[in-house]
Amino acid sequence: MANATIENVKKSFGDVEVLHGISCDIRDGEFIVILGPSGCGKSTLLRLIAGLEKITSGTIKIEERVVNDLEPADRDIAMVFQNYALYPHMTVFNNMAYGLKIRKMTKEEIRNRVHKAAEILELSELLNRKPRQLSGGQRQRVAMGRCIVREPKLFLFDEPLSNLDAKLRVQMRLEIRRLHQSLNITSIYVTHDQVEAMTLADRLIVMDKGFAGQIGTPLEVYEKPANKFVAGFIGSPAMNFFDAEMAGDGKSIRLSSGEGLQLSGEGVTETAEKTVTVGIRPEHFVICDENKAQIHLRTDLVEKLGADTLVHGYFKDNGDALTLRLNGIQHFDRNNLLPMWVAPENVHVFNQQSGDRLN
C-alpha cells in the first residue's frame, strides 16, 4: 500500500508527443481509473508508471520515492495485462510463484502465499493446470493472483476485462471491486469502458488526446463535466449538444427555436462569447404539462428497450436533433410535439471554441 504522485508527466515517441503533461495525486488505497477512447494515451501512462516505457519529462513518485529511472522490478508494482500474459509453459502455481522465487522467498512462504491467494480467487483446484487448460475468466483470476501474492505497493490493470464476454465482465468487475475492498491496495486501472470506470473508480482520470480532461469522482465527472469532451464521453446515450445564445444576465440561455432554459446558481459569470454550446443528458429531460414547459420536442423515432425508451426528435420545428431517455416503456406517435422541462442544474454550458465548461 502506498500513495503515488504523477507530476507533469510527458511522453514522446520520436517527434510525436503523446502525453502532454499529466498530473495526479493518488492517495493510499485509492482506486483510480484512467478512462478514454483508444489512442488517448491511457495505456502509455500506465506503462510509464510501470516502468515499461521511459518518461520524457516529469516525475513519477511511489511512496515519496522518485521512480523515474528505476527498472519495473525495483518499483514494487504488479500489473495485470490485457492478454493476461500468463507463462504458458508453467502451471498456475508456478505462474503465481514466479515472482516470489525471484525474490528468493522460502519454499514455505511461497506455498503459503500462493495457497492463500488461490483461496481468495477460488483457484485452489486449478493450481496444477497449465494456462491453456483454463477458461478466460480463470486465466484472468490467475493473472490477478500473480499480482496479489507479491503484495505490491501498487496494482496496475491494463484493460483486464476487455477479452471477456459481457456476462463474465460484469462478474469480474464485481470481483475486482471486492478484492480491492478487502486488500485495499492502491490501484490504477485503465479502461475504455465507462461502466467499468463508473463502478470501480474512487476517482476517474478522463483522458483525451494525451491530456487529462478531468480528474474527479465518477459523480463529479457525471454531474459537472469539465469540458465538452468529458461530457460527451461519459454517459450512454451520449449527451445532447446544441448551440444557444447567452441571455443578458448569464442566468439563462436562448435556443434557436426562441425557447429558453434556466441555469442554476450564478449561471455563467464571465464570458465574452454570445454563442455557447449547451449540453443536456438524454435522461435529464422531463415531460411535463404545457403550462410548465420550457422547450418542445418534435418526436421522430422511438426505440423501446424495455427498461427505458429512447425518443429521437428535433427542437420544436426543424431545430437541432435530440435524444431523450425515459423510464419504462412509453408510447409516442411520430411528429408529436412534447412539452418538456429541464432542471437548471442539469443544463451544462460550454465554450463553443475551447469546449471548456462555463457554468
Binding site: M79, F81, Q82, N83, A85, H89, Y98, G99, R150
Partner: protein, 294 residues
C-alpha cells in the same frame, strides 16, 4: 462451427494429385534406398563383371574395420559440434537481432546470405581462406606465429570442416529462431520484468522454454544436415583427411564406393548411416518432443 468440405466426385483425381509427390519419393528415395539395401548384401568381383550374394559379410567387415570405427566416432563428435555450435550461435544472433530496431533489416539480410551459398562453394571458400600457402587467414595466423596447416594437423582439419559447416547452417537456424522470438508476446517478457526477473533470467525462464518447439525442430533438421549435407564441405576442404580425421560417414560412403570401388561395403555403410539417422530421429520425436509442448 461446420467445416466447409470440398467434394470431388472424380475417384482418379486424388491419386493424380498425389502422383508427383509419390513419383519423386519413389525415384529419389525409395529406389536408391532399396538399391543400396540390395547392394549391401552383394560382393562384386574386382572387375565388376559379376556379384555374389554374401549375406551380412559386408557388415561384419565394416565393423571390424578400424578406420570405419574411427569414422563412427568422428561423425558423432562432428554432428554434435555442428548442431550445438550452429544452433547456439544462431540463437545468440537472433536474440541480438530481435533487440535491434533500426539497422535490423540490413543485419538480418546479411545474416541470411550464407544459406544461399551451396555447401560445396562454402567449402571451397573456406578452403581458400585457410589454405596453408595462399590463404589470408592462415597467413595472418602465421604472422602470429601459429602454424596452420589443415592438411597436416588432424585437429585443425576437423576444426575447419566443423567451422565451415556451422557457418553455413547458422543462417538457416537464425531465421527460425528469429521467427520464434518474434512470436513470443512482448507482454510475457514485460510481465516477467515486473515480476523482477533480470534480462538473463527472463531469457532462461521464459524465452528459452517458449522457443522449445523451434529448438526441437531445428535439432532434427541440424542433425540431418550434419550427417548428410556436410558432404560438400568435407569433400572440398579435406577430402576426409588427414589420417581420416574428417572422414565422416557420409563422406566415407562416397569415398569407398566411388573412389575405392567397393560397392558392397559402401552400400552397407550407407544402410548403417540411414539406420543411425532414422534411430536418432525416432529418439528425438519420442523423448524430446514430449517435453516441448506446453
Amino acid at each position: 462451427m461446420e467445416k466447409q468440405r470440398v467434394v470431388f466426385n472424380n475417384k482418379v483425381l486424388p491419386y493424380m494429385l498425389l502422383a508427383p509427390q509419390v513419383a519423386i519419393t519413389l525415384v529419389f528415395f525409395i529406389w536408391p534406398a532399396s538399391q543400396s539395401l540390395f547392394l549391401s548384401v552383394l560382393q562384386q568381383d574386382p572387375f565388376g563383371l559379376s556379384s555374389t550374394f554374401v549375406w551380412f559379410d559386408n557388415f561384419s567387415t565394416i565393423f571390424t574395420d578400424e578406420i570405419y570405427r574411427k569414422s563412427l566416432g568422428t561423425t558423432a563428435i562432428f554432428s554434435l559440434l555442428v548442431t550445438l555450435a550452429s544452433m547456439s550461435v544462431a540463437l545468440l544472433l537472433a536474440v541480438l537481432a530481435n533487440r535491434v530496431l533500426f539497422t535490423g533489416r540490413v543485419y538480418k539480410t546479411l545474416i541470411i546470405w550464407p544459406y544461399a551459398v551451396a555447401t560445396m562453394v562454402a567449402g571451397v571458400l573456406w578452403y581458400f581462406l585457410f589454405n596453408p600457402t595462399a590463404g589470408i587467414i592462415s597467413h595472418l595466423l602465421k604472422s602470429m606465429n601459429y602454424d596452420w596447416n589443415h592438411g597436416l594437423y588432424e585437429g585443425q582439419a576437423f576444426f575447419l570442416v566443423v567451422f565451415a559447416s556451422v557457418w553455413r547452417q547458422v543462417s538457416y537456424n537464425f531465421i527460425f529462431f528469429l521467427a520464434g522470438l518474434q512470436s513470443i508476446p512482448p507482454s510475457l517478457i514485460e510481465a516477467s520484468a515486473i515480476d523482477g526477473a533480470s534480462p538473463f533470467r527472463r531469457f532462461w525462464t521464459i524465452v528459452f522454454p517458449l522457443l522449445s518447439p523451434t529448438s526441437f525442430f531445428l535439432i532434427v533438421v541440424n542433425v540431418v544436415y550434419a550427417f548428410f549435407d556436410t558432404f560438400g564441405v568435407v569433400d572440398a576442404i579435406t577430402g576426409g583427411g588427414p589420417n581420416h580425421a574428417t572422414d565422416i560417414m557420409v563422406f566415407k560412403v562416397y569415398h569407398d564406393g566411388f573412389k575405392g570401388l567397393d560397392y558392397g561395403g559402401s552400400a552397407a555403410q550407407s544402410v548403417i548411416l540411414m539406420g543411425v539417422v532414422i534411430l536418432l530421429t525416432i529418439i528425438q520425436f519420442r523423448y524430446i518432443e514430449r517435453k516441448v509442448h506446453y
